[in-house]
């Protein structure tokens, strides 16, 4: 199976505590489970307000899984690891070889 790259995009609105926490969380999960095969793009809507419409963003922070499809969204500070992994459909690394 070809190596799959996970394209994630995190929408924030300035450096608020919630946004900082969300970025910290998702970076941690990705390192643990998707090491070497993920990208995280950060979109600050304060700087680019017009980008909110494209991905239908209304809540902040919102994490969007652009690829693999289908599109998934997780809103919130991503503090619940299990929910994020299930939401993004990332199989925990430990289970992969079973």
């Amino acid at each position: 199976m070809a190596k799959q790259i996970w394209e994630l995009r995190l929408y924030i609105a300035g450096q608020t505590p919630k946004s900082v926490l969300a970025l910290k969380n998702i970076t941690k999960y990705c390192r643990e489970h998707l090491e070497g095969r993920y990208t995280i793009e950060i979109v600050d809507l304060l700087a680019n307000p017009r980008l909110a419409e494209g991905d239908q963003i209304f809540a902040i922070p919102t994490l969007v899984r652009k690829f693999p499809e289908p599109l998934r969204k997780i809103i919130g500070d991503l503090s619940n690891e299990e929910k994020v992994l299930v939401g993004l459909n990332i199989k925990p690394a430990g289970l992969k070889k079973v």
Partner: protein, 477 residues
Amino acid sequence: MREDKSDYFPKSKTGVDGLDEITGGGFPKGRPTLICGSAGCGKTLMGLQFLVKGITEYDEPGVFMSFEETAKDLTQNVRSLGYDLDKLVKTNKLKIDHIQIEKNEIEETGEYDLEGLFIRLNYAIDAIGAKRVVLDTIESLFGGLDNATILRSELRRLFQWLKNKGVTAIITGERGESSLTRQGLEEYVSDCVILLDFRVIDQIATRRLRIVKYRGSTHGTNEYPFLIDEAGISVLPITSLKLEHKTSSDVLSYGHEGLNKLFGKGGFFRGTSTLITGTAGTLKTTLAAYFALSSCQRKEPTLFFSFEESPDQLIRNMSSIGVDLNPFIKSKLLFIHASRPSLQGLELHLLVLHKLIKELKPKTVIVDPISSLVTVGTSSEVRAMLVRLMDMLKSNKINALFTSLTHQKSNEYGDLTVDAVSSLADTWIQVSNDEKNDVRKRILSIVKSRGMGHSNQAWKFIIQDKGIKLTRSKEKA
């Protein structure tokens, strides 16, 4: 934030016919207004109309934030009203932002806020310099997201934010079972709350509007019927009668010489209204037909609303007494619109009247009989509708004739329309049946005639093959 503490309370015109009058000038300017009602009651349309009229009539750009319909659907839905949303969007007067919440692709974990929504709204408002905003229906958020605590505090923040932004906003809300809106939005939007209602009474649908609250302003407290037609929403305020009609001193004929002679000037003034009341079988429709005939003979377009007889029946019956309306039907000078009063709600009757008057531009309008409408609505509705109708006819300088059925012994139904109309009508002709010594006599008298002298006699009148003949009542015929 600007706070107006002076007596002057700034308002924003609603763009809805009649609503400005009820609200004493419009929605509170720079504040949110809540419009609530059950599904299909016209909330979205009222919001759109507020924006479109705001742009076309008051040069105030607007943002429509839709949580339900897409921009494409909205555009299509209001195209029949003549609203070209595409054009308004292209000219940067209108911005439609559709917030799509797909519950199945969204997961929630941890703390969040609705800053994204604020940013989108702010971006849209600033992009076109919007003065008006509609959020339709923001409660959809509660269906898409689980954390109601966050939503509530964010909505509170949003409404405050709208105020600070200084935009006049409409927020629509779905009617709840025990509260005005499902999510209790009325707690947050406290300046102006309007309730729309769509109900079916006796199998006839009626739309109504009520101002539940309007802080800091006087407003009408009644329920007002409103209608949705190809010109959008219009409310029928009872108070719309402004006595500013231009008057004419042209005198026109009733179409019957004998009847004309009873009036000092030999007829009626152009653009005035005449009411004919009488019990059953007192030739009210016949008098109306004379009226129609003379209007046609003046080559003036004539509109005849018949609530009792079909056009064919009416023409046949009238030709039997020498009133031949047929040629005018053919030359399209006379249009007879016949419908059962109970076929549709009052507002639809009024709508049809409006529509036909707009289309045919008649100089003469006859409603026979106006009392039939009483069976359709409650007394205050009928009264409101009649006032509105007469007002419209007068402002268009249309000669109007209404007949009304009264009952021998006065009862509430018979007198209701008379009460409603008689004070508005300029001329009132009363006909009655008098039964004495096995002979039934029809008596006609003029109750009033504004602006001219009139006979104060009771006239006996009989009907023959050649029509109606009036004789002095005292003479033995």
